[in-house]
């Protein structure tokens, strides 16, 4: 059984078919990339997994569970974490607070115990910090730990978003364009991190990315999409040289 299964999923916005009868599987432990021109429906696939949209038809299964029965805020509790294309951090909070929100799905305390700040809450806070600290170390964020997000440069915010997603302790990590807007060095860092996330933490990665260098560098399999439909699926070299993919990006030779 695969970790994530899309089975003939279709999503329409009015007359526009954003995702067209799409089927694919993400195996446990792989790095799976989705590529395609703008408007191909890549981010929509992510939003479907996050349950922001209800598909028209088809089924999405994660780890043996029917995701379509889960409400949007419940997806995280099954072990799916994500980042956003245009960074969606909690601006007026510190890096630490952002990462601690990532621990929200592990919350075991309730309203009353939190207002009284009982020892159980204190214990939980310490435990959360231990976990978060590991991630801060892993992604080299020590210098920014207590800084407000609103004062951080773009490149750091991008990493903080990955960190926040990792703080949820996910099985599947969805990265929406992790390298967009990053410098060459930052992209290389990101590449090693994605590699380490898979190898050291054993987390399956599903990412949308335009940077073909990064895609062919880290991913095991690539799905190419155009107009919401699957064009090609396979190892990076195979997809890159696929005639339908070249046509989607560059147009037909006349």
């Amino acid at each position: 059984m695969s970790l994530l299964e899309f089975e003939s999923v279709t999503l329409k916005f009015g007359g526009l078919t954003a995702v067209d009868n799409l089927s694919f599987e993400v195996e446990e432990g792989e790095v799976f990339a989705i590529v395609g021109p703008n408007g191909a429906g890549k981010s929509t696939v992510f939003n479907l997994i996050s349950r922001f949209y209800d598909p028209f038809a088809g089924s999405i299964r994660f780890d043996g569970h029917d995701l379509l029965r889960v409400k949007p805020s419940g997806v995280a509790s099954y072990g799916v974490a994500r980042t956003f294309q245009n960074i969606e951090l909690f601006e007026h909070a510190t890096v630490l607070q952002n990462l601690l929100v990532g621990r929200h799905r592990h919350r075991r305390t309730n309203l009353v115990s939190e207002i009284l700040f009982l020892p159980s809450v204190r214990q939980q806070e310490i435990k959360n910090r231990e976990k978060v600290e590991e991630i801060i170390d892993f992604l080299d964020l020590q210098a920014f730990r207590d800084k407000m997000i609103s004062g951080l440069p773009y490149g750091v915010r991008k990493v903080v978003e990955v960190a926040r997603a990792l703080a949820t302790d996910p099985k599947l990590l969805l990265l929406d364009e992790p390298a967009s807007g990053l410098s060459v060095e930052e992209t290389t860092d990101m590449r090693w991190w994605i590699d380490d996330i898979r190898k050291q933490m054993g987390i399956t990665v599903l990412m949308v990315e335009h940077d073909m260098g990064l895609v062919s560098g880290v991913s095991d399999r690539v799905l190419a999409m155009a107009d919401g439909a699957k064009l090609a699926l396979g190892p990076p070299e195979h997809v890159q040289s696929h005639p339908a993919v070249i046509e989607a990006y560059l147009g037909k030779a006349s």
Partner: protein, 365 residues
């Protein structure tokens, strides 16, 4: 500049940064505790008034400052708390039970209102709650058997453990009561902010989509925020009723709602300090104006400054000045001043400049 070198997580979790900061707050607390000996009855009453406003401000701050839901209807919850308290006392419930109950009942009322309001955002929520505030006036008139309608209600003192606590007869005891409630609410608020729930409030305020993706149930979180906010506001309302001694349907008008919202904006949204600083402005402004009226009147002669609505006019101007020049409120200004001294001479104006981000993920609605 002081650097706090953290060596364990407790330093991170406790509400104060270091011993220096703790000693400052303890000093402030000691000052407030010695107020009955330092101030005469008039100024003690004024201080009590400020504290009551601060409780109301804390209530609204939970909802507006930390969860990002604007409410122009909190006067309705002040009224609810006030009438609930008095009705319970009149029904023979001892004050020590009636008072907590009045807040809890207001919280339940708040949740009832919140359920339809959850779908509303920004300006629409503001209009919805504004309507609520206006409606409350009529509800109080209609519910005459409980509320006394247009005639209103009169409350004397209340008894706590056989001791009379009354605004006029025993102002010192009344001050202790209000101070106790203020401290309890503040401590609860501080605890909340360092616990997962408080962080999820901030998450909902700053980005609903990503809060949801992190497993925060948006509707539930907003509802809890409404409940807590309304409970605290209800307690403030109950104390306000005791402070005023007499109130009717017009006491908690829309103007009070607006004043409350202005108060936390002036104080500084999203901080506990802001509620207190705003309350100081709101509480002392009328006194300040009446005192300065005498001086101005002496210069220009006679009733030159006896203009009706002067208080709200000045209040409005202060608000405009804050929104234009200091959107972070008084607390934001204080942070800047403090940083200036800490970093002297390296402070730069741009340090507190907000970065504008023009890209936002589609809000999905």
């Amino acid at each position: 500049m002081r650097f706090v070198f953290k060596t364990n997580y407790i330093q991170d979790i406790r509400p104060w940064k270091d011993g220096y900061q703790l000693s400052l707050y303890l000093f402030l607390l000691a000052l407030v505790f010695s107020a009955p000996w330092l101030l005469d009855d008039f100024f003690l009453g004024e201080l009590t008034n400020v504290l009551i406003w601060a409780i109301a401000g804390l209530g609204l701050m939970i909802l507006t400052g930390h969860t990002g839901q604007v409410s122009l209807g909190h006067a309705a919850f002040l009224a609810f708390g006030c009438y609930a308290n008095v009705a319970l006392i009149e029904a023979g419930v001892p004050f020590l039970l009636a008072f907590p109950l009045s807040g809890i009942l207001t919280g339940i009322a708040g949740v009832t209102v919140a359920i339809p309001a959850l779908r509303l955002h920004g300006i629409y929520l503001a209009i919805f709650t504004l309507a609520l505030s206006i409606l409350m006036d009529d509800i109080i008139v209609l519910a005459e058997p409980i509320t006394g309608g247009v005639t209103g209600k009169f409350v004397g003192g209340v008894e706590i453990f056989g001791k009379l606590v009354d605004r006029w007869a025993t102002p010192v005891e009344f001050f202790w009561l209000v101070l106790g409630v203020t401290l309890l609410v503040t401590i609860g608020y501080i605890n909340l902010l360092r616990a997962p729930l408080g962080r999820s409030f901030i998450a909902v305020r700053d980005s609903e989509v990503s809060a949801q993706a992190m497993g925060v149930d948006i509707a539930r979180t907003k509802m809890i925020s409404f409940a807590l906010s309304c409970s605290v506001t209800g307690w403030a309302g109950a104390l306000m009723g005791l402070y005023a001694g007499a109130f009717n349907n017009e006491t908690f008008s829309v103007l009070i709602s607006i004043q409350l919202l202005m108060m936390i904006v002036i104080g500084g949204l999203g901080s506990i300090h802001g509620a207190f600083l705003g309350a100081i402005v709101v509480g002392f402004l009328p006194q300040f104006l009446s005192i300065s009226k005498e001086y101005v009147g002496a210069i220009f002669g006679g009733n030159a400054v006896a203009i009706p609505g002067l208080e709200f006019g000045i209040f409005g101007m202060i608000l405009i000045a804050f929104i234009l020049f200091e959107p972070l409120g008084m607390y934001g200004r204080w942070l800047k001043i403090r940083t200036w001294f800490e970093l002297f001479p390296f402070y730069r104006k741009e340090m507190f400049k907000r970065q504008k981000s023009y890209l936002k993920t589609e809000r999905l609605r």
